[in-house]
Symmetry: C2
Subunit: 127 residues, 2 copies
């Protein structure tokens, strides 16, 4: 049927992802695992990452394609899980969030952006 079975490669990729803080790209994972697994192929890394992400066991972090925004002031966005469209959302900028982040890390925090997710009005209507 439509079952999924054990695979050493998938396990490797999953474990590598779970044991790093680096939010790696497919290429990074590949280069980490390749030395000890010379037969591993990049296509397999991509296939398994997609598989795991579709299952919800791991997360994809980015828009697949670059998007541009005429508004250069820091502001929030909403991205629809169903259609992928991106909208502005006018929630006020919270300085205190930057302070929070500063308290909890060693980094220099210049600004932040919030990305909301859910189902957009248009998609809700067409259901």
């Amino acid at each position: 049927m439509n079952g999924k079975r054990y695979s050493r490669q998938r396990e490797l990729i999953y474990e590598a992802l779970m044991h790093t803080e680096e939010h790696p790209t497919a290429e990074m994972l590949y280069s980490w695992l390749k030395p000890d697994n010379p037969s591993l192929s990049l296509g397999t890394v991509y296939r398994n990452l997609n598989l795991l992400a579709d299952e919800g066991v791991i997360t994809r972090m980015a828009f697949p394609v670059e998007r541009y925004d005429g508004n250069t002031a820091p502001h929030s966005h909403f991205c629809c899980d169903r259609c992928g469209r991106v909208y502005d959302i006018a929630v006020p900028y919270s300085e205190s969030l930057d302070q929070e982040a500063l308290k909890r890390s060693e980094h220099q925090i210049d600004r932040h952006e919030v990305l909301f997710r859910g189902v957009c009005a248009a998609c809700k209507a067409s259901r």
Copy 2:
């Protein structure tokens, strides 16, 4: 010298971007402008978008490459402007932000993520 001069194409692209809410990709802008500007080329769209973004007049919205995260709980990230590395940041999830967004839009808000920007500890050290 290093001057920049007027260009009809750049103006077109900039105006298109300023008059939409859609956070378009280069491809989208191209397809909008092409019908009335048959000689426009996609390369020009990319070139001008990069130019405008480098100038700070518009904003690039995404990680250029897909990254993956083993942590599926909604949580915040920090991305270094200098080296591009991505870190987790443990600021507590704010339910009230979702409520704010809900109040200000017609969308169904399921969750959000915060992306902080600045210079990471590692990069600060190596200066």
